[in-house]
């Protein structure tokens, strides 16, 4: 093989190598976009699920609060907790919203049970009739 042919082959090889590197680099750059889109989609699904759960928890809490209130069994902080849950929902903090709402729902249930248990007057034993 003469020198001219060898040089041409080497140059061609270099060009091919450089071109290949560029393609690989471009693919690498593209790949994250594909991954990011997948992750964003995943996050979006998860987030809308969390949002729905928070909304559902708040609705359940409000229902429990009203039930307790219907027999004068509402506790002091239940309504405040629901308002805080609603604010957290609005701010996108779904975990906090859900946690507060579940706490409020529990208070509503306990308040209702308490008022039910106290429906009938029972005079205390330290009053000597």
């Amino acid at each position: 093989m003469n020198m001219k042919k060898l040089t041409a082959m080497l140059c061609l090889g270099a060009i091919v190598a450089i071109a290949g590197q560029s393609v690989i680099a471009a693919e690498k750059k593209a790949a994250p976009k594909v991954e990011a889109t997948d992750k964003s989609a995943a996050k979006s699904t998860e987030s809308s699920g969390d949002k729905a759960a928070a909304q559902s928890a708040i609705a359940a809490a409000e229902s429990a609060r009203k039930k307790a209130a219907s027999i004068d069994g509402e506790w002091r902080d239940t309504g405040k907790m629901i308002k805080k849950a609603q604010a957290a929902l609005k701010a996108g903090d779904f975990a906090k919203a859900t946690k507060l709402a579940k706490k409020a729902e529990n208070q509503g249930k306990l308040g209702y049970e308490q008022a039910q248990a106290q429906q009938t007057l029972k005079m205390p034993s330290y009053l000597k009739y």
Partner: protein
């Protein structure tokens, strides 16, 4: 003995009737309730004279009493009494005054609360004052804070020496019903802390709750409205009800709503015979 079985049967029936006739506490008459209530405090504080209960916690807290007696030399409610007198005397826009609604006033606090047969409800003095204002074309006052406490302080001051004398008229069963509702409220546990009014003020007067001594229920209504150091001002009985309900973490009821008026009716009845000494000063 002739006809012994018959006589034994008769005796058993009589005994059974006698046992049944002792009304269950829940069905006792208001006067029986009051006697039992008073006896509870006699048992709890055997050396305390009944009239002392009008001094509230200072009847049972000797250290607190010293401070209270010092405060009473220059009582913080005095300015409110003065402002209240101005309110009493000042004509409404239509030229009339409170005297036109309350001919016997201002010293009429002992006439409240009472059963209003016409309206079918418990009438309290703050409610009557606002009804007077509205009938004269004036705006009603707020029931917990503000200037209602001025005129109430003045009227309470002018009523000092009068005896608590709540009547539950027998010719209107609704009055007894209101009393019973107030009684039920008083003994019902409520709130996250699950306390009734009675848990603190009938079961445990004289005991400490954090750093404060629990006052006895007997006599609690004689000295309202009250200047509370905690409030830095004078406040009404219903404001205190609201605060107590919040303290046990129950959602409070509306001031001058049916619940608190019935509660006031019951609680004031329990202090029948005690001398009015408002306005008071408390921690």
């Amino acid at each position: 003995m002739k006809n012994l079985p018959g006589k034994l049967l008769l005796l058993s029936i009589v005994a059974a009737v006698a046992v049944t006739a002792q009304a269950a506490p829940e069905k006792a008459t208001p006067e029986r309730d009051r006697e039992v209530f008073e006896n509870r405090f006699k048992e709890r504080f055997p050396d305390l004279a009944k009239e002392e209960y009008a001094n509230g916690v200072y009847a049972i807290d000797p250290i607190g009493r010293e401070s209270w007696e010092a405060i009473e030399e220059f009582p913080p409610y005095e300015l409110f009494v003065d402002d209240g007198k101005e309110m009493w005397d000042a004509p409404f826009a239509n030229g009339k005054t409170y005297k036109d609604c309350f001919a016997d006033g201002p010293g009429i606090a002992h006439k409240y609360p009472h059963w209003d047969k016409e309206k079918g409800m418990v009438m309290t003095l703050p409610l009557a004052l606002n009804q007077c204002r509205e009938s004269q074309g004036e705006k009603p006052l707020k029931y917990k804070k503000g200037s209602i406490n001025n005129i109430l302080s003045y009227m309470a001051f002018e009523s000092r020496g009068q005896k608590t004398n709540v009547v539950i008229p027998e010719d209107d069963p609704r009055a007894l019903e209101a009393y019973e509702k107030g009684k039920k409220f008083y003994y019902t546990r409520r709130g996250q802390l699950n306390f009734s009014c009675a848990n603190c003020h009938v079961q445990n007067p004289g005991m400490k709750i954090r750093s404060d001594m629990l006052s006895p229920a007997l006599g609690q209504t004689t000295h309202f409205p009250v200047y509370r150091s905690k409030w830095g001002t004078v406040g009404t009985l219903h404001r205190r009800f609201t605060g107590c309900n919040k303290q046990v973490r129950a959602k409070p009821f509306k001031a001058q709503g049916q619940e608190y008026r019935n509660l006031e009716y019951f609680l004031t009845y329990m202090s029948n015979g005690l001398t009015l000494n408002g306005p008071g000063a408390r921690k």
